[in-house]
Symmetry: C2
């Protein structure tokens, strides 16, 4: 069977209506509120076809139709209208971001919050992965007799620090040498590029102090590698209660748990989406999502870039009848705003 223009229009009408109301939509509604000028009976006939094709279904006999995952998919892929939305909202959003945060963490939290407020869905955002960013600056200082403080600054001014316990005391001279050694060798490298050979080489160069130095270098390498666990910030979790289809106890509990145990979100945010259509925006509908607890949700993700190759992912989680148009629009806006504010220069980042 073919999906002709009229069927498409009807499907679109069904979905639009369902997005708004959340109730199964019947033939009469469509007949009345579209410009097709068809009677409900005709609509019914078409609906039977659409159901056979798998785009819509009935929750029970003699109920209206609800879009299936496949239906939503078609809608998102081909029928979504980019409405020219009230750009006011967006401006407000921009203003909220504009007060330039001086910590990346604060910025991300703010983005999540603004998005949640703006869309009324639950949001999440992963901090940019630092693995591929370059080291900019390393400094060891002595905090007290047995403890060193290692401060590592990564491109984009992401700062990591670690206390390294020392078995032996280091004198000032050694410390100075170490600092020089670390900076000459590691500066400009990405974390990926620091390998065993590299470390061995540095140990060798350390000469007399080889043992102590080796220890320190190992610790530093370790410190750099650590924190590799994806940091994720979330907001608007309780927005899920706005949507009855997600608000029942079991589902809500599972969803909230997922948002609390942020690692579970990793699967969605870890892999930069597969470069879909240039924009880096990807839509997962229902079963398509890799996260079990979101089988009844839709998830829209977008990559963002803060300059200097620092990329992260933003995600929005809502009911399947989410306002896809608005969400995609909003994500685009955020993307471009982050780009305006922090992008390009690379060094302008907080």
């Amino acid at each position: 069977m073919e999906l002709d223009e009229r069927k498409k229009k009807i499907l679109q009408a069904v979905i639009r209506n369902y997005l708004e109301t959340g109730e199964p939509v019947g033939s009469r509604t469509i007949s009345k509120y579209t410009d097709l000028n068809l009677s409900s009976a005709t609509i019914r006939n078409e609906m039977v076809d659409l159901e056979e094709m798998g785009y819509i279904f009935q929750p029970h006999t003699s109920a209206g139709r609800i879009p299936s995952d496949k239906g939503y998919r078609l809608y998102v892929d081909t029928m979504m209208e980019e409405k020219e939305r009230e750009l006011v909202e967006m401006k407000e959003m921009k203003e909220m971001l504009v007060e330039r945060q001086n910590k990346i963490e604060t910025l991300l939290k703010q983005v999540a919050r603004v998005l949640a407020q703006n869309t009324q869905y639950a949001t999440m955002i992963s901090a940019p992965r630092t693995k591929r960013s370059k080291l900019k600056f390393i400094q060891l200082s002595r905090v007290d007799a047995r403890q060193l403080l290692a401060v590592i600054v990564i491109e984009g001014n992401v700062i990591k620090n670690n206390i390294l316990p020392m078995d032996e005391e280091l004198n000032d001279e050694t410390l100075l040498k170490l600092n020089i050694l670390l900076n000459t060798h590691l500066n400009g490298l990405s974390i990926d590029e620091i390998n065993l050979a590299m470390i061995a080489m540095m140990k060798q160069q350390a000469g007399i102090h080889s043992v102590i130095v080796g220890e320190v270098i190992d610790a530093v390498a370790e410190a750099i590698r650590a924190e590799e666990d994806l940091e994720i910030y979330t907001s608007g979790t309780n927005n899920i209660f706005r949507y009855p289809e997600l608000a029942d106890q079991r589902k809500a509990s599972e969803l909230i748990n997922t948002f609390e145990e942020k690692q579970l979100l990793g699967e969605l945010l870890q892999e930069g989406p597969s470069e879909e259509g240039e924009t880096g925006i990807q839509v997962y509908i229902g079963e398509e999502t890799p996260v079990q607890s979101m089988k009844d949700c839709s998830v829209v993700t977008a990559t963002y870039e803060l300059g200097g190759g620092m990329k992260g992912t933003i995600g929005i989680v809502g009911p399947k009848r989410m306002d896809y148009d608005k969400v995609v629009m909003t994500l685009r806006t955020i993307q471009s705003q982050l780009d305006d504010l922090y992008g390009g220069g690379g060094e302008r980042v907080p």
Copy 2:
């Protein structure tokens, strides 16, 4: 009317039973499952008295009795038995904490998680306030031409850092002087003690570089003062769904929102509880809590200490029929375990 021994026993029985079942408890139940050897009729008479005195009430005529806030309060204050609990659980808990975390943040998250798992309630923990802790070490380094990195280590090895943008370039010599200046004057002071006079004095001493230096010092002072917003970690939020009396949509949504907007928890965790009974453990029942959304909950808070005067607060939030004995026990255990692991020495902290 007087609360004689028998009334107390009956009240205790009612509360115990209600804690277990969550259902209103009737006279017959009490008559059968206590060693009072009284008929249900007698119990009924006593219950009427207890109701008049405000310790229990009926959710509706011809239902069993439920403890009132006042009833719970009496129970917590005078009738709670410190059961010798399965210490096994506690040992496990200890083991989970023992893998010494090297960041305070990780430790706190872990504590929250372990507590939530152990008690099946929602937990929260505030990071130790750093206001009163002493500065241990300050270092400025040049990251690039126009940016300084300020690293500030506070007693207990809490590390703060900030990027300070500079209008002018600083040469190495000035930087060195600055570092010495900052360390000589600020070391050992608490953040509270850094006042305007202090800063003015330092600016003066900076002599030639007074202007630039002034800028830097202001920025450092600012950086220290910043981050004054209480950091709070939470866990087990979705445990609230275990208790039907909290799981309805409105309440759950409000509670979850409170846990997400962590500032709202500040009131509970900010003020170290008023030194109640030495242990620093405080119980808020129902209306007693300062947080609006928890009017139907009970909250138990405890202060903890990580050595070096670093104090924070742990909170556990559950239904009013929470297992107070267990919660108090568990909090005590955590307190002492944190003390064992990190306390005393003050310098042993991660």
